[in-house]
């Protein structure tokens, strides 16, 4: 007696959850090995049960759908990839809920669903549901402005120090005795030319050198 009913239910089930044909069906793809590596768990019927529970949980958060049960969520066509299709039916199990409702419900609870499976948005993909990406953590002041401020201040301080020391040097040179400069003029590092051959500049810090006593043959005595 129950067998025809069972067949009926499976037939309806098969009708509602059809890969690619059902308009309110969503394809889900999991990449457990990519996410967890060695700690990957196997995908079995218990995991499927948890998935149905999470979807039902998300639907219950939507107003008017607080009575969604796990049995209202149908999974089908589970592959080795691990990918499958799912639909959410209404309590009468006659028709599937519109895609927009399911989509908004999943989007709201996406984080909870991901965490239940230790996955993230890239490894647990709902193929028609775009995920809300986390905003980048923008600090109040961009870092580049801070570094820029530091460098700029250092450079300005260095320039100011150099200019001030230059001014002080200039003032000291002006105040210093100018007679010293006149005396030094006579023994400057002039490269004088005699007979078409240039002489080397003399080091006049200790006074004038008399070229006659310089041993290098090329130098000539200044006349």
């Amino acid at each position: 007696m129950l067998w025809p009913l069972f067949f009926l239910v499976t037939a309806i089930h098969a009708e509602l959850c059809q890969p690619a044909d059902a308009e309110n069906a969503f394809k889900v793809r999991l990449s457990i090995k990519t996410a967890l590596g060695d700690k990957a768990y196997a995908w079995d019927t218990n995991e499927e049960y948890l998935f149905k529970a999470m979807v039902a949980f998300s639907m219950r958060k939507v107003p008017n759908r607080e009575t969604t049960e796990i049995s209202h969520v149908l999974l089908c066509n589970v592959t080795q990839r691990v990918s499958f299709w799912f639909v959410v039916t209404d309590p009468s199990k006659k028709y599937t809920l519109p895609a927009m409702e399911v989509q908004s419900a999943i989007r709201m609870s996406r984080n909870r669903i991901n965490n239940a499976f230790f996955l993230n948005d890239q490894t647990l993909e709902f193929l028609k549901i775009p995920s809300t990406l986390a905003p980048p953590s923008d600090p109040a002041v961009p870092i580049w402005i801070i570094v820029f401020g530091v460098i700029f201040c250092i450079v300005i301080v260095a320039i100011t120090v150099l200019i001030l020391s230059g001014i002080r040097q200039h003032r000291r040179n002006n105040d210093g005795p100018s007679e010293v400069e006149d005396a030094e003029d006579k023994c400057e590092t002039t490269i004088t030319v005699e007979n078409g051959i240039p002489c080397d500049p003399l080091d006049t810090k200790d006074g004038c050198l008399n070229d006659a006593f310089v041993t290098e043959g090329e130098r000539l005595t200044p006349l």
């Binding site: 090995k33 080795q80 580049w144 570094v147 820029f148 150099l162 002039t190 490269i191």
Partner: protein, 617 residues
């Protein structure tokens, strides 16, 4: 005493060692030690081109085979021209303007032209430093800002422009340059770039504030730091996977490529621009040397160091580029594998990269229609290695992308952009000397004005002139300046330099001077290259350049998100007024030469007429 043959009205106004006497009133500043001078020259010669132009040329022109024309050009063109510049600067102890006026008043235009070109180059060269500084400032964060795309408005995906191109390109073209799609559309001044521009010019001012007193101290850091970073990158790069593939691809010689005359032209121009000849900067640096200094040894040393640095840098660059290519190749394969797994519902991670070809063949045989629908891209490592770039493309797109994948990315980014900044800064110092030393020598400002004020005003003028490059179309204008302002003019000035020294100043006199300075008379090699080979090669480069420029109408590659083949660049022709600007830039600085010669001729004629009227004394 000067042997000015005024009566004959001839060109031979050869000023003897009189320039020495003029120094008696103004003691010329000098380098603290020889090492400072060498470092300054090396820093000036070694610039951004060594990092991002030479490796590209090496790779494009048959790897190791390119070294042959490169070294031939170095030996026959680079070293002789370089030797002339520093010898003449050291002998006459003036900046570029003073030196050429001293050799012959008719050649004064060469100095003024060099001065003008130095000014134009300083504008756009510093703009490149602005971009480097911007990237440097942005490197102090993890994750790096160019590693991910920003989100779009409803946070469901990435910004469209970024999605179609790549995060790195988006950061460069949109968040840095904010470039427009057309050069006619200038857009607004980008305030971020403006801030960095101010910072760059302030840094340059700090380095040149007291002439070579301050420059000499700065170059200890700016000239040596890049070598440190290159070594670090070399060590790190050699441990990265895929580095050897990159290096093998770079250095595999392909001798047949030498039959292409373009290779020889590019080698000659690379040597010429790499040594920063004809800017007047080397003349200025050498003028602060003691007169008895072995300039021949300096010339050979500096030129060889410059070339070795290029080679060293290309090894470091290509090990990183090889790593990036291998990485991209792996990603390409992974994307294909994922496509197959998703379509045919195979278990996750069941296909490794090695199994992929067999699987693809099997699927192609059994279900070819579905496989064809996937539009799988064929991944070849050579394609990724071929995607090399030069110039800003290498630094800001290829290398930044490679750095993202290296562990500890911010450290490498900081090091890399710090290195680029100090390389560019040391070259900027040489260019600024090419501007400031002539101003000081010309006596444009009275002696009571301190040097700090003069350098400050020079930097301020350059800063305001460079504002146009921080517009949204600044990138296109920089390309124009890079291609037209410097190239032809420098070749013309170098040609006149050689001719002026060898034929106007006199080869014999020049050799005497060199013998006095170094203690050895220049041998046959120098005489032949100065008299014959150097000028001929310059002439050849000049003619070849003109031919290449005239072959096709000048165009540029625009970044246009609306372009149908985006992210490829859209090839656009320059509008008429821009073409006119290019022409002006190419020839205006060179016009100083005939202009000054003409002015001198007219002045002399007038003076002759006046002397003819007055009784002879």
């Amino acid at each position: 005493f000067s042997l000015c043959l005024v009566g004959t009205g001839g060109m031979a106004c050869t000023m003897g060692p009189e320039p020495f006497a003029e120094d008696s009133s103004d003691e010329r500043p000098k380098w603290d030690n020889k090492f400072q001078y060498l470092l300054s020259c090396i820093g000036f010669a070694v610039g951004l081109g060594n990092i991002w132009r030479f490796p590209y040329l090496c790779q494009t022109y048959g790897g190791g085979a390119f070294l042959i024309p490169y070294f031939i050009a170095l030996v026959f063109e680079g070293i002789p021209l370089f030797h002339i510049e520093i010898a003449i600067g050291q002998r006459l102890r003036r900046g570029s303007v003073g030196v050429w006026k001293a050799i012959s008043p008719y050649l004064g235009g060469v100095g003024l032209g060099c001065f003008t070109v130095s000014f134009l180059v300083s504008l756009y060269y510093n703009t490149i430093l602005v971009w480097v500084l911007w990237y440097f400032l942005n490197s102090f964060q993890d994750p790096l800002p160019w590693s991910t795309c920003p989100l779009d408005l409803n946070r469901t995906g990435f910004v469209e422009e970024c999605q179609s191109s790549s995060a790195v390109s988006y950061f460069w073209y949109r968040q840095t340059l904010n470039t427009t799609a057309d050069i006619n559309d200038s857009g607004f001044v980008q305030w971020r770039l403006l801030l960095c521009l101010a910072a760059c010019w302030v840094i340059v001012y700090l380095c040149v504030i007291r002439g070579i007193e301050s420059t000499g101290k700065v170059v200890y850091f700016t000239a040596l730091f890049p070598y440190l970073v290159l070594t670090v990158f070399l060590i790190r790069g050699s441990t990265l996977p895929g580095a050897t593939e990159g290096l093998i691809y770079l250095f595999t010689p392909n001798i047949r490529v030498l039959q292409n005359p373009r290779v020889w032209l590019d080698a000659a121009t690379q040597i010429f621009f790499s040594l920063s000849l004809a800017f007047g900067g080397h003349i200025a640096f050498a003028s602060y040397n003691p007169p008895r200094n072995d300039c021949e040894k300096d010339a050979v040393t500096i030129a060889l160091v410059n070339s070795m640095t290029s080679l060293y840098a290309s090894i470091a660059v290509f090990s990183v580029v090889g790593f990036k290519a291998t990485n991209d190749y792996g990603h390409c394969q992974d994307r294909n594998i994922l496509s197959l797994i998703n379509t045919f519902d195979l278990p996750d991670q069941s296909v490794s990269r090695d199994d992929y070809p067999a699987l693809l063949a099997h699927l192609n045989a059994t279900q070819p229609a579905r496989v064809a629908q996937l539009h799988l891209r064929s991944c070849r490592l050579e394609d990724f290695l071929d995607k090399s770039a030069s110039g800003t493309g290498l630094a800001f797109i290829v290398f930044t992308e490679a750095i993202i994948h290296m562990p500890g990315a911010p450290v490498w980014a900081v090091l890399f952009f710090g290195m680029l900044f100090s390389l560019g800064l040391s070259t900027m110092l040489g260019i600024m000397e090419g501007i400031i030393t002539p101003l000081l020598d010309l006596g444009v400002v009275p002696r009571s004005v301190p040097k700090e004020a003069l350098t400050g005003v020079a930097c301020l003028v350059c800063f305001f002139s460079a504002l146009c490059f921080s517009l949204q179309s600044g990138n296109y204008w920089l390309e124009i300046f890079d291609n037209y302002a410097a190239s032809l003019n420098l070749i013309i000035f170098a040609f006149f330099e050689v001719i002026g020294v060898v034929y106007v100043y006199g080869m014999k006199r020049f050799c005497d001077d060199v013998e006095w300075m170094t203690g050895r008379r220049p041998g046959l090699y120098w005489q032949v290259t100065w008299k014959l080979i150097g000028p001929l090669m310059l002439l050849f480069i000049f003619v070849a350049y003109i031919v290449i420029l005239a072959q096709k109408p000048p165009s540029y590659r625009a970044w246009n998100p609306q372009y149908e083949h985006f992210p490829s660049h859209q090839e656009k022709l320059y509008p008429g007024w821009v073409q006119a600007t290019c022409m002006l830039l190419s020839f205006l600085p060179s016009l100083w030469v005939p202009a000054v010669a003409l002015a001198q001729l007219l002045t002399r004629r007038r003076r002759q007429k006046q002397q003819g009227v007055r009784p002879q004394l």
